[in-house]
């Protein structure tokens, strides 16, 4: 049986669409098979609530009187970048000058909460922009636009981080205790949209996504996109692979799903909830949706060596990781996630309700995600002939 996105959207309009969350879908497929599933189910909602970096907030202010061209702006004491006379980009990972534990990600959360935020800026020395200094408070209602650009909104799979060294490491994967005492992973595994659609057959440029309560659009592939990653026999990559870039306006967002966090001795990180509906267009897509944690493999990486290529300890499945003990080098090691499964499950349900209530429609993608991209390396050119 074949379906099109238009047919599914008509069904949503007529309140006849059958929507399931990813966890419900897996049970139905297991019980009744993918044939029954394709015939009866239209949409499956997937979600993730993972730790993110690689994001920025695009802020567009109104003009001051006399006119100003921003220079050296600070928002709540966090440095921002000038993109135009009154346009700024705020990185989500930079910290405030007086508090390392507060940064861009927290400002995004505060903005969505509707809090007043401090802006302090100088002005560039132009004849037509005579204002040389400006100091004010603003909130989300005073902005022309506040747009969240997530250049790594969703990761297809991730690694498991462990540390075989003698000392503890404070890494981007949390605190890793030495001598393989603990390990961390950062993936919503079977709920992740890209695990449920491993070759991006239904997600493409222009697909609508649910970003933290607002509606956004997929812009294409994101940072560290590596579609050539090795895949297991269920076509799931065994490490970081496809990434998607997305943007969304912040005015519809809920602060519960955008959270600023701070990792000890590492820095500010952004946690953001993403939901993607996967249309069940044919049986092939239904079969991909049947994937469970037992068949999703990931690679255990040793973080004690801070090099581009790190030693690995082998592979394990997410069902092993979810038991909170995993064998690394034959040693039982404590393991825990960095991404919230509880929130991902909640997002799946919210997105399902939005679709049923005709608040969220599917969008046909304009272009597929580019799968012929090679992950590049940044090397020094020292010693090369000029």
């Amino acid at each position: 049986m074949q379906r099109t996105i238009e047919e599914i959207n008509d069904k949503i309009k007529n309140e006849r669409a059958q929507v399931l969350t990813a966890s419900e879908a897996k049970e139905v497929i297991k019980e009744k098979g993918s044939k029954y599933f394709t015939d009866n189910i239209d949409i499956v909602t997937c979600a993730s609530f993972e730790m993110n970096t690689n994001a920025l907030l695009y802020l567009s202010f109104g003009q001051t009187d006399p006119l100003i061209y921003f220079m050296d702006p600070y928002i709540n004491n966090v440095p921002a970048y000038v993109l135009g006379p009154t346009d700024l980009a705020l990185s989500c990972v930079l910290s405030s000058r007086d508090n390392l534990e507060y940064g861009g990600a927290h400002i995004i959360e505060d903005l969505i909460l509707g809090k007043d935020i401090h802006l302090k800026t100088n002005g560039r020395n132009f004849e037509v922009y005579p204002n040389k200094e400006f100091d004010t408070w603003f909130n989300i209602k005073n902005l022309n636009c506040a747009r969240l650009v997530l250049n790594q909104a969703i990761n297809q799979n991730n690694i498991v981080a462990a540390n075989s060294g003698a000392n503890d490491i404070n890494s981007n994967m949390g605190t890793l205790i030495g001598k393989l005492e603990n390990s961390t992973f950062n993936s919503s595994s079977f709920l992740n949209p890209l695990i449920n659609d491993p070759y991006c057959k239904t997600i493409g440029v222009g697909s609508s996504v649910w970003v933290a309560g607002g509606h956004g659009i997929v812009l294409g592939y994101g940072s560290n996109h590596n579609p050539n990653q090795h895949r297991n026999k269920h076509s799931i990559p065994i490490g970081p692979s496809i990434t998607l870039s997305a943007f969304a306006d912040t005015d519809q967002m809920k602060s519960k799903w955008v959270r600023g966090g701070y990792l000890k001795s590492f820095g500010v990180v952004l946690y953001v909830g993403i939901g993607i509906p996967i249309p069940v267009l044919n049986e092939e897509i239904a079969e991909a949706l049947s994937i469970t944690d037992e068949n999703i493999h990931t690679t255990i990486v040793d973080f004690s060596i801070p090099r581009r290529t790190k030693p690995i300890f082998g592979q394990c499945t997410y069902s092993e990781l979810r038991t909170s003990t995993v064998l690394i080098n034959e040693k039982p090691t404590l393991t825990a996630p960095l991404s919230s499964m509880a929130y991902a499950i909640e997002i799946c349900k919210i997105l399902k309700d939005e679709i049923i209530n005709k608040d969220f429609f599917l969008t046909k993608s304009i272009m597929p995600i580019d799968m012929n991209v090679e992950l590049k390396k940044l090397d020094s050119r020292l010693g090369e002939l000029v």
Partner: protein
């Protein structure tokens, strides 16, 4: 002599049923041993003479060096105080731990970062991936406090 006195006290305490003093309570202490008393069988004395069940939470003892022992003593309140006095007489330094880890669950996202550093196994994610705090297992090592990205975990002094 001291043993006889102890017996008398037990009788007294056993009569105070109403005041609630007879219920067993728990107290966490850090014992710092100088090298000379490393041979003292502390947990044996606690069990035999004071009827205290001691649960060793952390121990760092090397021969010929000072040692550190974190234990949870489970016994009658009177007995606990006497026992601490007795331990002090041996020249062992006793520091009581009144610290407790508290969670501000309003801010918690159940991400699991704190679980990854809880080697004592006091933090777990349940079947629905919600954070669970099993307080009796907590050794107040405080690893989870800086680990939490959202400042959910705090120490209550």
């Amino acid at each position: 002599m001291s043993k006889k006195k102890d017996k008398n006290k037990t009788l007294e305490t056993s009569e105070l049923v109403v005041s609630g003093l007879n219920t067993r309570t728990r107290k966490r202490v850090i014992l710092s041993f100088p090298p000379s008393v490393l041979q003292t069988p502390i947990t044996y004395i606690l069990a035999k003479e004071y009827d205290i069940a001691s649960n060793i939470l952390r121990a760092e003892i090397a021969p010929e060096e000072t040692g550190k022992l974190v234990i949870e003593m489970d016994g009658l309140p009177d007995k606990l105080e006497e026992a601490i006095k007795r331990i002090k007489e041996h020249g062992i330094e006793v520091t009581e731990i009144a610290r407790k880890v508290i969670f501000n669950m309003d801010k918690c996202t159940h991400c699991g970062v704190c679980v990854s550093v809880c080697l004592a196994g006091a933090l777990k994610l349940d079947e629905e991936y919600h954070l669970q705090f099993i307080e009796p297992k907590c050794t107040v090592c405080e690893m989870c406090v800086p680990a939490c990205p959202f400042n959910v975990v705090n120490i209550d002094i």
